[in-house]
């Protein structure tokens, strides 16, 4: 295979990996802080993307059509709205169930995901149809032989990297990040140390959901389309990626995201009958990895009180 084609595949893989990684990081954040799997994360992404779409429609009505301005407003609004949604979910659905068996939290968030998805499908005007998402990034591209390097892809990748680096900075170098890591490590001691547990949980959920909104807008820009089902698929993939990388570890989540995308791309290249079996291949590998390393590639230290 020639270099240009190879580069194209790599680029496809990187874009997918970035989106999966963003979703996976969200899952891992929630798990780290509250020991919960918030299955509705993927659908929060969908709601975020649709919020951005609605914002765009609103901006159009108001007559504001500048590309960068629109994009900025959409991102800000979607992120803030989703952050708020995440906090509401945490406050009213997840925290009350902390004393219940973890299965219940898993189920309630699964059902919440369904509620979000169906709400978009039913209540957004013509929500059941795929909706075109505006192409707000510059469309220029350079042809390097077989490889078509697009400016908007590069911009999105860069933005994704910036967000992840920013998150790392937040977690490792700020007081807030310190508080989050403390709560993730040991809730009781953190409380004893004077950290406001509820506030930290809410903030973490806000951050994670904001990330989902960002990923949703990216997904819309990449495919120039959003539909009510994008969250389900991305959610499961993101979850699998977080699991592969080991829940609770940010690096693991990012690794898992790119690994999953890599698996899919390899599957596409290797399997002769095009991409039809790529999902089957990727999920089969996930199951196999679970059989081999039950707590993910980066081992989680579980201790259980008997």
């Amino acid at each position: 295979m020639d270099l240009g084609l190879f580069a194209q595949y790599v680029m496809n893989g990187l874009m997918l990996g970035m989106m999966y990684a963003l979703v996976a990081v969200g899952f891992t954040l929630f798990f780290g802080v509250l020991d919960v799997i918030k299955f509705s994360h993927g659908d929060v992404l969908t709601v975020g993307a649709f919020t951005a779409l609605a914002t765009f429609a609103g901006l159009n009505v108001l007559g504001l059509k500048s590309q960068w301005f629109d994009l900025a407003i959409m991102l800000v609004l979607a992120t803030l709205a989703m952050a708020l949604l995440g906090m509401l979910i945490a406050r009213y659905l997840v925290m009350p169930l902390r004393s219940a068996p973890p299965l219940n939290t898993l189920l309630i968030t699964l059902m919440l995901g369904t509620v979000l998805r169906e709400s978009v499908r039913l209540f957004y005007p013509q929500g059941a149809n795929p909706k075109p998402f505006p192409a707000l990034l510059p469309r220029s591209s350079i042809d390097l032989g077989e490889f078509n390097l697009r400016l908007d892809n590069v911009l999105m990748l860069a933005a994704g990297v910036a967000v992840i680096v920013g998150l790392q900075y937040l977690l490792n170098r700020t007081k807030l990040g310190l508080a989050i890591r403390a709560v993730a490590q040991d809730e009781e001691t953190a409380r004893t140390m004077g950290i406001n547990f509820t506030a930290i949980v809410l903030v973490t959920f806000a951050i994670g959901s904001g990330l989902a909104a960002f990923a949703g807008v990216m997904d819309g820009l990449y495919y120039n389309e959003v539909n009510f089902g994008i969250g389900l698929y991305l959610g499961v993939v993101g979850f699998s990626a977080a699991i592969i990388g080991g829940l609770g570890s940010i690096y693991g989540a990012i690794l898992g995201g790119f690994l999953f995308a890599g698996l899919q791309t390899v599957g596409t290249v290797m399997l002769p009958f095009a991409s039809a079996y790529k999902d089957v291949f990727a999920f089969a590998v996930v199951i196999a990895i679970m059989a081999w390393r039950p707590t993910g590639l980066i081992r989680e230290k579980i201790s259980e009180r008997v």
Partner: protein
């Protein structure tokens, strides 16, 4: 106080009118059915068809000479075969519904033929183009007023060869619809022999990401990409083609002839080829009449490509019931002898498999955001050129 007074008056008036109407319309009520994709990616076609069938029923009910009052029962098949079988079973199992105009999506129509046969329920297909629907079995219950995809693909292959394109890559969806298009187009192209197919790719009907297929296609560098499938993925493929910098002609079928395709792509839709059986709605024999009445009803959506056929199908059902009465078996017997019955889409004749012949195939190219007939377009006259056209 005033509110209750007004309410009471309104109520009494309504009651009086209802009684009057009730007494006046002493006709028997007959139920007829309509099935189409009312939700999902191709819903505009389904809704257009439903509105057209509804129009037919309304016009008939307004006709004082009609023997019965008709009620239209509408079910949504969501363009999914399993849902279609469920709603088909539901409709066919209901003994009160005499006949129905069914299905836009070929995948749903082919899945339900056995169901209709099992229950002895007469149906007329209004939008699905897969030949197997009428030709795989010889079921007396199944008929179709629109044409099949065979002719459409013949004309398609002819045009591509005539324009001098040499290499074609085929993308088709993996339902029977897409597979049918692939089969007939490949056969037609091979028969003409001027162009050849360099690669065939099957994709799922709800696939999101085509980077894999399109990257492989990019390496093959074809002149034309032929697409056998419906609007939702048509939009995605065309848009992702552009993202990967593929500059081939996008040549599609009747599945994308819909406003949703143009709305989804904006300027990217320019230069897309498409083909459809039947003349454009306003050029049909009864086209003007149909459009006039349709617009008078002020429906929210246009009839789309197959609305006229839905109207014709429903009118035929109503005519049949008027003639032989509300009895499924009698309707089946009547529909077995359809020869040159006039309708807004021309004279309809059912062959021994219940299939009508639609001779005219319209060639479309998207020009300035509208589906324009090829012969009238600037592409045919040479003022504009398709990518790679010499």
């Amino acid at each position: 106080m005033i509110r209750t007074g007004k309410l009471a008056t309104a109520g009494l008036t309504a009651l009086a009118i209802a009684l009057a109407v009730g007494v006046a319309s002493a006709k028997d009520k007959v139920k007829v059915g309509f099935i189409g994709p009312l939700t999902g990616g191709v819903s505009v076609n389904g809704i257009g068809g439903r509105n057209s069938a509804d129009l037919a029923v309304r016009l008939r009910n307004a006709d004082a000479k009609a023997k019965y009052t008709y009620e239209l029962v509408v079910l949504d098949d969501e363009c999914k075969p399993n849902v279609a079988v469920q709603v088909a079973t539901k409709m066919a199992a209901d003994k009160d519904i005499i006949a129905a105009a069914t299905h836009y999506c070929s995948s749903t129509a082919i899945a339900t033929v056995d169901t209709y046969h099992k229950f002895g329920f007469p149906v007329i297909v209004w939008g699905a183009v897969l030949p197997d629907i009428t030709y795989r079995n010889k079921y007396a219950e199944v008929h179709r007023v629109n044409g099949t995809m065979i002719n459409q693909n013949d004309v398609n292959a002819e045009l591509i060869s005539k324009l001098g394109f040499k290499t074609v890559a085929v993308i088709h969806d993996t339902t029977d619809y897409g597979k049918g298009h692939n089969k007939y187009f490949s056969e037609a192209l091979a028969r003409i022999g001027k162009a050849k197919i360099v690669g065939t790719f099957g994709v799922t009907a709800d696939q999101q990401d085509f980077a894999a297929e399109l990257t492989k296609i990019k390496a093959l560098n074809p002149d034309v990409i032929y697409f056998g499938g419906l609007t939702p993925i048509g939009v995605r493929i065309r848009s992702q083609m552009d993202k990967l910098g593929i500059k081939a002609v996008f040549d599609a079928t009747s599945g994308i002839v819909s406003d949703a395709y143009i709305q989804g792509l904006g300027p990217l839709a320019e230069g897309t080829l498409a083909f459809r059986e039947g003349a454009p709605t306003d050029k049909l024999p009864g086209g003007k009449f149909f459009m006039e009445k349709y617009n008078a009803q002020k429906y929210d959506n246009p009839p789309e490509a197959y609305g006229a056929f839905a109207f014709a199908a429903m009118s035929m059902i109503l005519d049949s019931i008027e003639k032989v009465g509300p009895d499924r078996n009698k309707v089946i017997a009547d529909l077995a002898n359809v020869k040159n019955r006039p309708s807004i889409v021309g004279n309809i004749t059912f062959d021994d498999h219940g299939q009508n012949t639609v001779a005219v195939i319209t060639k479309y190219v998207v020009q300035d955001g509208k589906f324009t007939e090829w012969d009238e377009s600037e592409y045919a006259s040479g003022k504009r050129k398709l990518p790679g056209q010499k």
